[in-house]
């Protein structure tokens, strides 16, 4: 492993959040291209040596994460597991993810029930945030996903959900066609 790769590994180890290539380059005092090569070498190294953690591309950056194979052991050690989102919160989030920016009323209309509580939960957990106001009557707040959303779901960016988005759009279009 080259000294630069080792340095990048140290930076990623010390960081609690995904680190962008730009930030890595600045901290290491090298160019982004050099960081890119170091990341490639680090990925190969961690794969070949069968380390307990791997390099993951998350939220526009990179992060060292333990491998799934060791999840039970790590959970036993840390004695913690983050609670999953409730079904209502997940459905509300799905509407926001695939229709953002969207108002609460639009979410309510689609779900047929009030989503205020679920939306508040999502905002409190930092998964969605206010991203502006709708120009319509009352100028209601619009919501969209955050960087924390990408981190929470382990997504590189929203394009990771393109396939799901396309399938969803097709199904919605089908439902709107007259029988």
């Amino acid at each position: 492993m080259s000294p630069l790769t080792a340095r990048v590994e140290a930076l990623l180890f010390a960081a609690a959040e995904p680190v962008t290539p730009v930030a890595l380059a600045q901290a290491a005092g090298v160019s982004e291209a050099e960081v890119g090569l170091a990341l490639s070498e680090l990925t190969s190294h961690l794969e070949q040596e069968e380390h307990g953690f791997a390099l993951a591309a998350v939220a526009g950056g990179y992060q060292l994460l333990t491998r799934e194979a060791h999840a039970d052991a790590v959970t036993a050690l840390l004695q913690r597991r983050r609670p999953p989102l409730t079904r209502a919160a997940m459905e509300t989030l799905a509407v926001i993810v695939f229709r953002q920016p969207v108002t609460r009323a639009e979410v309510d209309d689609l779900r047929g029930v009030r989503s205020e509580g679920a939306l508040l939960t999502l905002v409190e957990r930092g998964l969605v945030a206010e991203v502006g106001r709708d120009p319509g009557p009352g100028r209601p707040m619009r919501y969209g996903t955050t960087r924390r959303f990408l981190e929470y779901f382990g997504l590189r960016d929203l394009t990771d959900l393109e396939a799901a988005k396309a399938a969803l759009a097709q199904r919605v279009a089908d439902s709107e066609e007259p029988a």
């Binding site: 609690a16 992060q63 333990t66 799934e68 689609l110 047929g112």
Partner: protein
């Protein structure tokens, strides 16, 4: 339940099976599961949909009860069965999209990164012992007593002083020395009012006391700044 409700809506449009044969009661079977989940949102959703299923069934069986062809003004906002079927179909699609997100959530929950270290500074300050606060206050108190020999009627209230302190802390946009908050208080009563106001701000969570090291200087920061 969604599927059963959509089936009902389709039947009402005339393209499905005989509405009378649709088992609305079956739509309620998921209620037990919803309540067992003890999630208020799930419970309200299940109840709403079950109620809607009953309404649709009643319309199917008693077509004269609600004039579907010529709705009155009060029914203008009523969702037609066709619109309902469309909405439920779209909702169903989003529910499946939620399942996609769930798979990502489950996969990510199996992997662990370094936990975030507690942020140093005002966002997570170490608690300042009350004895320390009293010691600091005692010094100010002694100075005030030495300076002030007269007891004058005080017009400044704790509430008003709280507002003043809030303004000072906000304007500072950072920690303010504890002693500095008493800079204008020459008399004992003024010192007391300021101290009570500060305690109240801390109690309400509007201000945070900071002491970076034992016996170090005490500082105060607005909670908004601390966040």
């Amino acid at each position: 339940m969604i599927d059963r409700l959509r089936q009902l809506a389709a039947a009402l449009e005339g393209g499905g099976e005989d509405p009378a044969k649709l088992q609305v009661a079956a739509a309620f079977t998921d209620l037990d599961a919803a309540y067992a989940a003890s999630d208020l949102d799930d419970q309200s959703l299940a109840l709403t949909l079950a109620a809607r299923a009953v309404e649709l069934k009643a319309r199917a069986l008693l077509p004269g009860a609600v004039p579907a062809e010529e709705p009155g003004p009060e029914d203008a906002a009523e969702e037609t069965p066709e619109a309902l079927a469309q909405r439920l179909a779209a909702y169903d699609a989003f529910r499946e999209a939620a399942q996609v997100l769930r798979t990502y959530e489950e996969a990510r929950s199996q992997r662990f990164g370094r936990p975030a270290a507690p942020a140093p500074g005002p966002a997570d300050p170490p608690p300042v012992p009350f004895e320390t606060l009293l010691t600091m206050f005692a010094a100010i108190w002694e100075r005030a007593r030495a300076d002030g020999r007269t007891v004058a009627r005080q017009e400044l209230t704790v509430l008003a002083r709280m507002d003043e302190l809030r303004a000072v802390l906000r304007a500072a946009a950072g920690p303010v020395a504890f002693e500095a908050l008493f800079a204008g208080d020459a008399r004992r009563m003024q010192v007391i009012v300021t101290f009570l106001a500060l305690l109240e701000l801390v109690r309400l969570g509007h201000a945070v006391l900071l002491q970076e090291e034992p016996f170090g200087p005490l500082a105060v920061v607005a909670a908004a700044v601390a966040e």
